[in-house]
Symmetry: C2
Subunit: 212 residues, 2 copies
């Protein structure tokens, strides 16, 4: 019986992965938790404890082999398997994502793009053509994508999510301002840009107050 890993640990994993990738590109072969902790600004102990949730990847007296650990974290995150993803909603953010985000390096493979706007349907984006959202059902039946990136207006977000759920999509990257209704068998990552702006606003305001 495995003990469940806390979500706090999971949240930090991508960051470890990022730092290790950088070390790798710098040609650094090995690293101690102490040195990594200095670079990342957290305690060495936490790094060791976090990693130990998944097994012992280091060696006493030596440290961690960067390349090996990098690969192991990739496995933990599931990046070695490429899940098929579709993008629903090509407005602004959605479009930007297709260019900017390196899906292949983050465990996904973008296989379809959908919209309802006739002006957008038929557009070429990267190596894909924007399809009519009406066709999404047959597409899903054919391709069986795992994940959908939701980049649709707030008012239709939950409706679209529900439709996709019924078609078999159980994982969402949600960019819409709406909050998706929770379901047990669905996993969601929300990216609420507005919330980040407001948090930043709070920090700025607080700093100003303290200085006065």
């Amino acid at each position: 019986m495995e003990k469940p890993v806390s979500s706090s640990v999971i949240k930090r994993l991508p960051r470890y992965y990022r730092y290790l990738g950088e070390l790798l590109s710098l040609g650094i072969e090995r690293i101690s938790s102490k040195e990594l902790s200095q670079r990342m600004g957290i305690t060495a102990s936490q790094i060791r404890q976090d990693l130990n949730c998944f097994g012992g990847f280091g060696q006493q007296g030596y440290g961690y082999n960067v390349e090996y650990l990098y690969g192991e974290i990739a496995k933990i995150l599931g990046l070695d398997f490429k899940y098929k993803a579709i993008l629903v909603g090509v407005g602004n953010i959605g479009h930007a994502l297709t260019r900017n985000t390196n899906f292949e390096k983050r465990g996904f493979n973008l296989v379809g793009i959908f919209d309802t706007d006739p002006q957008k349907i038929g557009m070429k984006i990267q190596n894909l053509t924007v399809l009519d959202y009406k066709e999404v059902k047959s597409f899903i039946e054919m391709e069986c994508p795992t994940m959908a990136i939701l980049s649709v207006p707030r008012v239709v977000a939950n409706q679209v999510a529900n439709e996709l759920y019924d078609m078999g999509i159980k994982a969402f990257l949600n960019f819409s301002y709406a909050e998706l209704a929770k379901r047990d068998d669905v996993v969601v990552e929300n990216i609420h840009l507005g919330d980040s702006l407001m948090r930043l606003c709070y920090k700025i305001s607080k700093k100003n107050k303290n200085e006065v």
Copy 2:
């Protein structure tokens, strides 16, 4: 002497604000912590405790007045004061942000857009013209913006951030894959899309394993 409010509480504030805004648009006048807790999927106790960090906004036997609480949280977040913001880097995400994000409702006012690419300089975006990054210094001296949205390539992110810091910018919304070096007098909100993708990938992988 005020006790500092924990960052866990701050993280939740924008979400409260979002929900209250929705209640407001639905014409709901008052709400109890219990009902709000059911809608938001957290405990009523936590809502009460979070709000009480900033003062008593409710009334026993009555609950919380939605409009009043909405306004108070706006004040706490600092949304009533519009901080000037500039956007640095117009590629993909940066461009999308200008259209999609309602800065005015989140405490900011976008006053300038900058890039180094001659092809982009001069472009009209919303009601602004993309300016040459070379002009950013004099612009900052004139306009005194508070915050910069960093949407530049990873390799130059820290350099640009440092330059802007020297020019007086002490707050950043960072979209670049790089991690900005920490400074005491700087506040940063990071939006690492890649991290979110990887977290989602982990959740999917874990779910699949558990089901097998």
